[in-house]
Symmetry: C2
Subunit: 201 residues, 2 copies
């Protein structure tokens, strides 16, 4: 997957591994993160696949660099990937995995958790985001038809965050109800912790 992202970035202009890392960190961070260790490895395999070529550039005053360019084969692969809608969309949410098993902990603890999680942001720090936006807007003037798509991903991030907050509010309400119900039923035999020995009916 990362390969396609790297390919797309190089398709927008030659780049070094380091530059690719900065774009991930500053602009794609809200939906994908990449470490240099993986980037450099993928670059090598992509070169072997013939999707990109490498040029060593000697510099003075700063370290030498390896600049990567897309090949016609690489561009063909990029288009093929963009047009391939056959792969099923995989959802994988480690956070929902946790939620599913939260019955192991007391309600109070989970309530506290949702109250805190409600205000966690997906976006990286404001400064970087602003800088990245400026870059993207500059590009937008040159190629408005490419920049829209970046805007669409940002809007997704915003809508996702909003939905997450609303979901947290819903969770908090549900757990408060549960708490009330448990307290109202008093000694109706609902142990709030470790019901270890029993099995479901």
């Amino acid at each position: 997957m990362l390969k396609r992202g790297i390919l797309g970035l190089i398709g927008n202009g030659d780049k070094t591994g380091y530059e690719i890392m900065t774009v991930f960190r500053d602009s794609l961070n809200h939906f994908w993160m990449a470490q240099t260790s993986q980037i450099y490895r993928e670059l090598q395999t992509m070169e072997k696949a013939g999707w990109i070529t490498q040029t060593h550039v000697v510099q003075t005053g700063r370290p030498d660099k390896n600049v990567f360019s897309i090949t016609p084969a690489g561009h063909a692969e990029l288009l093929r990937w963009l047009r391939d809608h056959s792969a099923p969309v995989r959802y994988r949410n480690p956070f929902l995995m946790k939620t599913f098993f939260m019955g192991e902990l007391p309600v109070e603890e989970n309530l506290a958790f949702f109250r805190a999680f409600r205000d966690v942001s997906v976006f990286p720090d404001e400064g970087r985001q602003a800088a990245a936006s400026a870059d993207m807007y500059r590009q937008a003037i040159a190629h408005p038809e490419k920049a829209v798509y970046w805007k669409l991903t940002i809007e997704f991030g915003r809508m996702y965050e909003k939905m997450q907050r609303e979901w947290c509010d819903y969770c908090i309400r549900e757990l408060e109800d549960l708490q009330r119900a448990t307290r109202a039923g008093e000694r109706t035999d609902v142990p709030p912790h470790h019901p270890q020995e029993e099995e479901e009916a």
Copy 2:
């Protein structure tokens, strides 16, 4: 990550690898999928770690099975994981990765794509979902304080789908605007396809 999911499931009662697969397929499918190949491998490493124990059960009329049970060490690990909020939440959306690079394709193609994607559901087929719900509701009667959390994950799925539809509508509107602008500007030199040679300013 899958390890913790498996641990949580075994924590709710002894299970075979096959049963774990069916729970993933029928109930956790909207936020995590797991293949048997991975499940059986994880079970072995979890046994080595002392989180679970294995019992071979001979059956007649059907294949023998290996039933796994959680150990006190496994339960401790489950609680540790549930309480560990240090790991940063990782978002990774292959679909947004594609969106980001859609500028390579003509607007018409992308519009068609969003119109189709708008109606794609995250949830597995109705039949299975209903069956899984029935199971969960039965459990809910026995342990209402555990079943809420399952309900919360389902609600997340619903809210996510709703948000996704709204986002698609937004994307469609944006791309229609772009289309109109491009047509209005007529020959204002905005090639809708492959601007290969040029670099950004």
